[in-house]
Amino acid sequence: MAKPDSLGQFEQLVLTAILSLRDDAYGVTIHAKVEELAHPKAASLGAIYVTLDRLEDKRLVASWLSDPTPERGGRAKRCYRLEALGERALQESAITAKRIWDHVAEVWGKELAKEWGRRWGKAVRG
């Protein structure tokens, strides 16, 4: 299997959004999920399309057109799913992030890390 390229932060967010949305991953829902994950930073719908195209060219995600729906003016959705290469790339990114987190906690102390975790958790929920 080919080795996936390392992912940028925005690519990680988009892949995580696709992973968590499962069968309902398309432009609007991916954008909403990315905004939730990147809170308080905002993301534009155009940036999501650019990243999805790039991820598709890297063969990390695959897309197909669904049936047209009335709430979209009779237009189809382009749905996305993670490919095996995308899952592997996301897994590697998550492992790296976990390793960074562990080192931060080790150097700056577990209490401070817990406090940060609580604060970020609140920020994501709020």
């Binding site: 009335p70 709430e71 979209r72 959705k77 382009r78």
Partner: protein, 190 residues
């Protein structure tokens, strides 16, 4: 009547037809269906729709340009344009900036032509490129007539570049990226 019902059973506001038609014209055909659908789904009021379209469509076009640009073809087209304008300007006294403007306009026209083409590498794209060169001359005429390329040189350069670019594109017709795009087109028709 005529209003769609959304996921939660809420009545959706219809997008004004003229707005949707303008947005549809600006979005490249390959992504028109899903981008228009997404913009429709997010519609709240005309102002929000226009803002959404302004922030989304340029990035969609740029992404489409990136996907349809074959770097080998771009290099060959740049060389063909350089040769065409050099030959045409051989006897004239047009300076480098004057010649660079229409040549760059042709390249921009080719990229946009490819991005908006219904099928990969349309035979009309070189014509779009040359049209962009003349359009650039109209803009130069309004902004700074000193940089205007003389008409005989423009005619020679446009003719030669049309010929050379058409040959270059025919030679690169069956590239690997072309195959990739053809597969995507099958997806769109599903």
């Amino acid at each position: 009547m005529g209003q769609a019902v959304g996921k939660g059973g809420a009545r959706m506001k219809p997008v004004p037809k003229p707005l949707e038609s303008i947005a549809g014209l600006l979005i490249p055909p390959a992504c028109r269906e899903h981008v228009l659908g997404d913009l429709h789904e997010r519609y709240e009021n005309p102002r929000q729709y226009i803002l959404d379209a302004i922030l989304t469509i340029p990035l969609v076009v740029l992404s489409r340009i990136r996907r349809t640009t074959d770097h080998q073809v771009l290099l060959v087209e740049s060389c063909a344009l350089f040769i065409a304008f050099l030959i045409a300007a051989w006897q004239g006294d047009t300076g480098f900036p004057g010649l660079a403007i229409p040549a760059l306009a042709v390249l921009a026209g080719l990229r946009l032509g490819d991005a908006y083409a219904e099928r990969h590498r349309s035979p009309w794209t070189p014509v779009v490129g040359v049209a962009f060169a003349y359009l650039s001359q109209a803009v130069v005429w309004l902004a700074n007539p000193a940089l205007l390329v003389p008409v005989p040189i423009m005619l020679k350069a446009a003719g030669t570049s049309l010929f050379l670019i058409a040959i270059a594109r025919m030679s690169f017709q069956a590239g690997p990226q072309g195959d990739n795009l053809r597969v995507k087109r099958v997806d769109v028709s599903r």
